[in-house]
């Protein structure tokens, strides 16, 4: 198995991104305040390490009002969530630009060899934004394009400021934001809940914010089947009984 990352959960999974503040609400702080907090050791390492990027107006500790809670065992892979998301938020149907991802794991799970996907365990991940209190997509953005909604604490991309560089995608521990291949702007979940409304299996639920890092389900099987491409050419092709 490859080196574990924040993306990887086996079995019940481990919480690798502990929420620093879990209180509901929204705190607007200055860069100086962040620096002080960091110096005092009161910030999570990840946040302290991330430079302020919106000129003293970084919103480090916004606890968003809502988050999507998912249950992958219930997901039947219809991908209506992805289409519903973009119909609502972009005015078209463009799964590859959706703020929730099923399509890339549907066949083989989080990676080839995970033992997941329709060809193996019939489980795959529904990857959703965890609505981090310390939103690394936001802290990483060199253009301050990821802003915090003052009433909900939800981070969203300001398309006017976004230049489509993809820094947020790389910075997010779950690689959730997507740079739309047509508009060249990044997108991320704004907790609107439309995907959940159209999920025919109730695999998604928009809930009041809680730490969902535990709840995403495993990202691989504990004992994955060997890859077909490594064991047989075709059924009855000589390598199986």
């Amino acid at each position: 198995m490859k080196e574990n990352t924040a993306l990887e959960h086996v079995g019940s999974g481990a919480d690798r991104l502990d929420a620093f503040f879990t209180r509901r609400g929204f705190v607007k702080v200055s860069g100086a305040f962040v620096a002080t907090m960091a110096a005092l050791g009161l910030l999570p390492e990840t946040a302290a390490a991330a430079p302020t990027s919106s000129k003293g107006k970084i919103d480090y500790y916004a606890t968003p009002s809502h988050v999507l809670k998912i249950n992958r065992a219930k997901c039947t892979g219809c991908q209506r969530c992805e289409m519903s998301c973009t119909l609502k938020n972009d005015g078209n149907s463009q799964p590859a630009a959706a703020r929730i991802h099923v399509r890339d794991g549907f066949f083989y799970g989080s990676e080839l060899g995970s033992g997941d996907g329709i060809y193996y365990s019939c489980e795959w991940n529904i990857r959703q934004c965890h609505m981090c209190t310390t939103a690394m997509c936001q802290t990483a953005c060199p253009h301050g394009a990821i802003i915090t909604d003052e009433s909900t604490g939800v981070r969203s991309v300001d398309p006017e400021k976004c230049v489509g560089c993809g820094t947020c995608v790389a910075a997010c521990p779950y690689h959730m934001p997507v740079v739309n291949s047509v508009t060249h702007k990044s997108t991320k979940c704004i907790a609107c809940g439309r995907c959940a409304e159209q999920c025919p299996n109730g695999a998604l639920e928009l809930v009041e914010w809680e730490n969902v890092n535990h709840a995403s389900g495993p990202t691989r099987q504990e004992n994955p089947d060997p890859l077909i491409s490594e064991v047989q050419d075709y059924v009855g092709g000589g390598k199986v009984a």
């Binding site: 495993p218 064991v231 075709y234």
Partner: protein, 745 residues
């Protein structure tokens, strides 16, 4: 700049010429209004480009994949696609449609294409890679000889796990007429398409699309979807009552595919069993539990193996079984299997009536654990080999050739090696691996059973099989019943004649099986097709009448419409609904409303039905150009006597009963001939011959077809003018559709 935006359609079709290596792209704007997309586009392109008389394995044959304006747009059940090519297994190699679900259609649309035309022939194995706008022909030598699973895995490894791979297996490579193209593990495009690609040396089409489908009124698409999920949509086949008595439901029907119930679980789900429970109308978030397909098809023992259901892109009705059966893995190497159609129940549903299979049912006739294994072993094998079954004909023919001694007679020394006795009598599923693999490999005698009955009944001298009711063959040109006379008598019989393969029409059978009582169905029939006598109770049929003809016509045009838009005709049209508050009435205008919301073009249901009629008539006329007459001369318009010839057993079955007596679906010869003429008239075709007339071609604007038929000496005068033969469908159910958001506008 709004003028430049194409809504619904991507606006382009890709063309890949394997002989020259040329890859081009062309606008489809001119076809959009008249031919919609999907089947309409694919048939139009075939008619324009593939001359009548071409053989399926000629380089001049093409394989055309197309989707429509609703594909991938967010409209529920809009994930299907249609290929058209020349038939490999039915008489005269005429045009056939090969429908498939999975994720191929949506991915193609998202790549910015409404279609893909594959033409010419490659000398070496290749695959076609479509990565948004970038299209290339790539070397497939590393994948040649491999099954569809390994091919898919290898290509996903190379190009990304989000790609959709549509691949042929050994059956296609070896030019077996019954070869198909597989995507998403178990979604097949059949009718010999795999052999056509195999002849062109195309191992796979790999598609990744990251673009969007532009939608003119996204809010309306969302509102209509919410309305549809809340009160109009039922379960698989749009069955609208549960299969067991449930407190919320006024009706229930044992045969319904709304099989969820308390105490029935996806028992092998990750983290513990998930109860299917009692999903009710008005609950959009439980629609996907209504159809518990594994136990429905495979019997109660399948519950413990059931991980979940799945299905095509964009569909909230999850009709695909996903089971993990350890014994199946032992035998085939594959842990995950399941389907929704024939490959889910190939042994238990199609073989025992012809050759008993020991141990697959218990004393009460309940399917056993062994039946799960038998069925899913076959499912895993055929999907990997890319082996199609001609809507179960393969399984009926194998059982028959075994039981009647044909195999013993024709297979010679090989016979013993197939261990048929072990398979049929000794509860051992393993012999089927070799049987099916040898068929797919197309090198030994047994493979002829995979060339279709047209070939093997002649080769093995068994023409009588066509006239045996057990064969289920419905047309002498080589295809079996697909919901035929058992589905409203003449109605089903008629639409089984229309195409050059089994019809795949579900509009009527959905209504038949929906679970509502016959009296209510009759009321609904009156509203939709103009007469209560459009439908009779099962096996209590009455002679042909106008309403039945209307019902048959509607079944055909709605199917063609759905294959063009593309929507799933296994569930659409919305003729009925589960909601009592709307008196169980469906909503026939949803296709048109979704079309308008997606494309921004105002259309009515009647406009769409007319376009579907155009597509059907085009296929009919194109077929007549290549059809041979009794003397073998090409170019024949006598559909009544050459094409639409129903097999004799429908008139001969149940010898103790007469046609129209209770207890039989036996047909009457005179009534059948009368019915054909009435249906021809409804389409504006010649009432004697059943071919398109000058009048109907003018009405439908099929000028090119008209000149082609004229040139071939096949154009006939006469035909009833459009306005004298058509009815209005728009708004017929609107009294029941008070919550339809498009009507509120």
């Amino acid at each position: 700049m709004a003028d430049n935006v194409s809504y619904g359609w991507a606006g382009y079709i890709a063309r890949v010429n394997l002989t020259s290596g040329d890859i081009t792209k062309e606008s489809d704007e001119e076809m959009q209004q008249d031919y919609i997309g999907g089947m309409g586009f694919a048939n139009k392109i075939m008619f324009d480009e593939v001359p009548a008389g071409t053989k399926w394995d000629d380089p001049e044959n093409k394989a055309v994949l197309a989707v429509g304006p609703l594909t991938g747009s967010g409209v529920p059940l809009g994930g299907r696609s249609t290929w058209a090519t020349l038939s490999t297994f039915t008489k005269d190699y005429l045009i056939v449609d090969c429908h498939c679900g999975g994720t191929l259609g949506a991915q193609l649309k998202y790549s910015g294409h409404d279609g893909l035309i594959i033409e010419g022939e490659s000398e070496t194995p290749v695959y076609i890679l479509i990565d948004d706008d970038k299209i290339s022909i790539e070397d497939a030598s590393a994948f040649w000889g491999k099954g569809t699973r390994e091919t898919t895995e290898g290509l996903c490894k190379k190009h990304g796990l989000d790609c959709c791979v549509a691949a042929i297996g050994p059956a296609g490579e070896n030019l077996l007429p019954y070869a198909c193209v597989m995507n998403a593990r178990s979604h097949s495009a059949g009718a010999g398409l795999g052999a056509v690609l195999g002849k062109k040396k195309v191992k796979a089409v790999v598609v990744r699309g990251t673009k969007g489908v532009n939608v003119a009124d996204p809010q309306m698409v969302a509102d209509l979807s919410d309305y549809m999920l809340a009160e109009v949509l039922g379960s698989n086949n749009n069955h609208v009552v549960p299969s067991t008595q449930q407190s919320w439901a006024e009706y229930y029907d044992k045969g319904s595919r709304w099989t969820a119930r308390k105490g029935l679980y996806w028992a092998a789900a990750e983290g513990g069993p998930i109860e299917t429970g009692e999903p009710k109308p008005g609950e959009p978030n439980t629609v996907g539990y209504r159809c518990m397909k594994s136990t429905k098809d495979l019997g109660p023992e399948a519950e413990k193996y059931t991980v979940k259901m799945a299905g095509c892109h964009g569909c909230p009705v999850r009709c695909y079984t996903n089971v993990q059966v350890p014994r199946v893995k032992e035998i085939t190497g594959y842990s995950s299997t399941g389907n929704t159609c024939v490959p889910n129940f190939p042994v238990s549903s199609y073989m025992p009536g012809i050759a008993p299979v020991a141990g697959i049912t218990d004393e009460d006739g309940t399917l056993t654990d062994l039946s799960v294994v038998y069925n899913q072993v076959v499912s895993a094998i055929v999907d990997d080999l890319g082996l199609w079954c001609n809507y179960a004909q393969l399984y009926r023919d194998i059982a028959h050739c075994y039981a009647s001694g044909i195999f013993e007679r024709v297979l010679g020394d090989d016979y013993a090696s197939y261990r048929f006795e072990d398979f049929f009598d000794n509860q051992d599923p393993t012999p089927i691996v070799k049987i099916l693999t040898d068929i797919a490999m197309n090198q030994s005698e047994i493979a002829y059973v995979g060339h279709g009955p047209l070939v093997w009944t002649e080769r093995w001298d068994d023409a009588a099989w066509y006239d045996n009711a057990k064969s289920c063959l419905i047309n002498y040109r080589g295809w079996p019943v697909h919901h035929a006379i058992e589905c409203f008598g003449q109605v089903g019989g008629l639409y089984n004649m229309m195409f050059n393969r089994d019809d795949m029409i579900h509009s009527a059978v959905n209504f038949q099986g929906c679970g509502l009582p016959i009296d209510l169905k009759k009321e609904m029939a009156k509203e939709m097709w103009g007469g209560e006598d459009a439908c009779d109770p099962d096996k209590a049929y009455t002679p042909i009448n106008d309403a039945k003809i209307e019902f048959a016509w509607w079944s055909i045009v709605t199917d063609v419409l759905h294959d063009s838009l593309t929507l799933c005709n296994w569930v659409w049209p919305m003729a009925m609904a589960p909601e009592k508050a709307r008196d169980y009435r469906g909503d026939l205008d949803l296709e048109a409303q979704f079309y308008t919301a997606v494309t921004g073009v105002e259309v009515t249901t009647d406009d769409l039905y007319k376009a579907a009629e155009r597509i059907m008539t085009l296929q009919r006329g194109y077929s007549s150009l290549g059809m041979t007459d009794a003397e073998g001369n090409m170019g024949c318009n006598d559909f009544r006597n050459v094409h639409d010839v129903i097999t004799e057993w429908v008139f001969e079955k149940d010898p103790d009963l007469k046609a129209f007596e209770k207890g039989t679906d036996k047909m009457d010869r005179d009534d059948w001939q009368k019915a054909l003429g009435m249906l021809y008239k409804r389409f504006g075709w010649d009432e004697e011959l059943g071919c398109p007339t000058k009048q109907c071609l003018d009405d439908l604007g099929l000028d090119d077809l008209e000149s082609a038929l004229d040139e071939a000496g096949l154009l006939v005068d006469g035909g009833t003018p459009y306005d004298e033969r058509t009815r209005t469908y728009s708004g017929v159910l609107s009294d029941y559709c008070g919550n339809n958001p498009a009507l509120a506008q």
